[in-house]
């Protein structure tokens, strides 16, 4: 009988990613409802010490696969080991973050196991029979689907960062730690990471950002993104953009929010000089609090906004930056 809920503990630079703690938070609730353990699969090199934080986050058992072949993420090696860990522990549910790594790995593991996978979920639950049932957006969020009835075990899902509440660490709580010895064949080491290419400036991880300030065509010129950056810095957030701003060459595509850009759900999303085209809304309408700054009172962005200022962004944005700084200082 499959038993337990397993999560893939994603690390970055020796730290657990935030989404892993979010999975642990919801995962431990679901595991408790099923009366089963929450298990974390922790893959990497020298990652053992992270088991402590996982234990505090509600994980009951940490399966550690520590190997030099797992130092960098590669699809081949990680899917081999993750599949073997799942087979060894036979959990009923396996969860991943819907990150660059999770989206690459989860479908590959699901295919190897011949099971279903619900991608980019925004809610996890159990049905009357205590089987996994999820909510996931389709058509860029124009429709929300309830997906369940997984035909084979385990039921697998990737979950968007920032939608689940992260586990509150319980000091002193410990997980049982189990070593797993990975085995590799030649087919498990085909690809290799040759270099890392950092984006110009600081690393933007829009998907996990808590606050995002985005600029659109209303900024009129690339140098005016400075206003957006200053507000973002004051709020401790990241910089996003509409496609119009990206297509104009004012900012890199990695900042684009929307149907053909990133899907984000920060706590606070501030749209400046963005009209609110359906493709832009597709990427940000699940944000918790949406603020729009636009000089056109008819702009569709106001329809999805919690707060809006009708006005010239060149005056409003710097004024808002000052107000935020004042509040933060006081």
């Amino acid at each position: 009988m499959p038993s337990g809920i397993m999560l893939f503990a994603e690390c970055r630079q020796g730290q657990l990613r935030k989404v892993t703690l979010e999975l642990a938070g919801r995962g431990s609730e679901l595991a408790a409802q099923r009366g089963e353990p929450l298990i974390a699969a922790l893959l990497g090199q020298g990652v053992g010490p992270l088991a402590e934080a996982l234990g505090q986050a509600g994980v009951d058992r940490v399966v550690v696969a520590d190997h030099e072949a797992l130092k960098d993420y590669t699809t081949d090696a990680y899917s081999r080991v993750m599949t073997d860990v799942v087979r060894a522990w036979d959990p009923a549910v396996v969860l991943f973050g819907a990150t660059a790594i999770g989206r690459d790995l989860a479908p590959r593991v699901a295919a190897r196991l011949g099971v279903g996978l619900a991608s980019d979920c925004v809610a996890l639950d159990l049905d009357a029979g205590k089987a996994l049932v999820v909510k996931r957006p389709l058509y860029a969020g124009k429709v929300m689907a309830t997906v369940g009835g997984f035909s084979r075990s385990p039921a697998m899902a990737t979950v968007r960062p920032n939608v689940l509440t992260p586990a509150v660490p319980q000091p002193g709580r410990r997980a049982e730690v189990v070593e797993f010895s990975p085995r590799f064949g030649p087919e498990d080491r085909r690809t290799a990471v040759k270099e890392l290419v950092a984006a110009a400036g600081e690393v933007v991880d829009l998907a996990e950002a808590d606050v995002i300030v985005s600029g659109g065509r209303g900024l009129k010129a690339p140098e005016n993104f400075r206003l957006i950056e200053e507000l973002a810095r004051a709020l401790g957030g990241a910089v996003g953009a509409s496609r119009a701003a990206v297509d104009a060459g004012w900012i890199e595509h990695s900042h684009q929010v929307g149907q053909t850009g990133k899907t984000v759900s920060p706590t606070l999303y501030v749209a400046c000089g963005i009209s609110g085209a359906i493709q832009h809304l597709a990427g940000m309408s699940s944000s918790r609090c949406i603020v729009a700054i636009n000089k056109d009172p008819e702009a569709p962005i106001f329809k999805v906004a919690d707060y809006g200022i009708v006005g010239d962004l060149f005056q409003v944005v710097p004024a808002l930056t000052e107000e935020v700084k004042k509040l933060r200082a006081g």
Binding site: T75, D76, S79, A100, D104, P107, R108, A110, A111, G116, L117, S119, D120, L138, Y139, K142, V143, T146, V147, G148, G149, S151, E187, T191, A192, V193, K194, L196, V197, A198, A199, V203, L206, E208, V211, H253, S254, Q256, T260, L268, I278, L281, R288, C289, V291, A292, P297, F302, K303, D306, Y307, G308, I309, G311, A319, L320, E323, V324, K326, L327
Partner: protein
């Protein structure tokens, strides 16, 4: 080279849930070649122009999905294969990839290109699943691709969260396309005329040699139990006072009422 393409509602489409509540109404919707698949087709054509070879586009879908193949043919693809059978319909990424992988066993390739995601189901799964079923490596969400035909390797730059990495892979491999990979060409008029006359090879369940239980709705890994159209509208508070006053009021609201500051 093989390119996997899907026929999907365009990004402007207003989506309504059909009676029964488990599928969408296709009425009045304009279907197009999935935008990410356009990048994949374009990249295959550029590789062909540089290194030679054939570009075969493959889709699984209802009759209308032929249009996606025609668009790709009009851009310059050489051959098109349509997996078309009622038994193949209504499936998820699991059952779709089983059928696609089976079809690909009979088409020679060094490289499979696909989109990073289809903008209807947004599942981001079919590419990796097909690669797994065929036992070949994958590089997903790629913004730059170089193929070394002599060494039979490819170097692909793939987008991670906040940075990129360059991955080297032996061929054959599967690569999924992200925006930024290239600027897709528009089909030329002669291209469109030629595409109309090209034969599209059709494969059904029997010619694929699959069992109805493996594909379509019967073969899926999980089912859609309900669909709803969420309301995006929020009860927004719109401030129209002059900028400094509005900014001060907004900051206070964000802290006091919304509790996000």
């Amino acid at each position: 080279m093989v390119v996997l393409v899907k026929h999907v509602p365009d990004t402007e489409a207003r989506i309504a849930v059909a009676g029964g509540g488990r599928s969408i109404s296709e009425e009045g919707i304009n279907f197009v070649l999935n935008p990410y698949d356009e990048f994949a087709v374009e990249e295959a054509l550029r590789l062909k122009e540089r290194l030679g070879g054939q570009v075969t586009v493959v889709t699984l879908g209802p009759e209308r999905a032929k249009e996606a193949l025609r668009t790709a043919l009009a851009m310059g693809a050489d051959e098109a294969v349509h997996l078309r059978d009622d038994a193949l319909e209504g499936g998820d990424a699991l059952s779709v990839s089983v059928a696609l992988a089976r079809a690909l066993k009979d088409i020679p390739f060094d490289l499979i290109l696909c989109g990073k995601q289809a903008i209807d189901d947004d599942s981001c799964q079919v590419g990796p699943r097909v690669a797994e079923l065929l036992g070949i490596p994958q590089v997903t969400v790629v913004t730059k691709l170089e193929v070394d035909a002599a060494a039979r390797t490819a170097r692909a730059q793939r987008e991670m969260d906040g940075y990129s990495e360059v991955v080297e892979t032996p061929l054959p491999a599967l690569v999924s396309a992200q925006k930024g990979l290239n600027e897709p060409r528009f089909p030329s008029l002669p291209g469109i005329m030629k595409a109309k006359r090209k034969e599209i090879k059709t494969l059904n369940l029997a010619s694929l040699g699959l069992d109805a239980s493996q594909v379509g709705r019967a073969g899926q890994g999980a089912e859609v139990q309900a669909l709803e159209v969420p309301s995006r509208a929020r009860r927004g508070r719109i401030l129209t006072s002059d900028p400094p006053a509005a900014a001060a009021e907004l900051a206070a609201l964000l802290r006091g009422e919304a509790k996000v500051l």
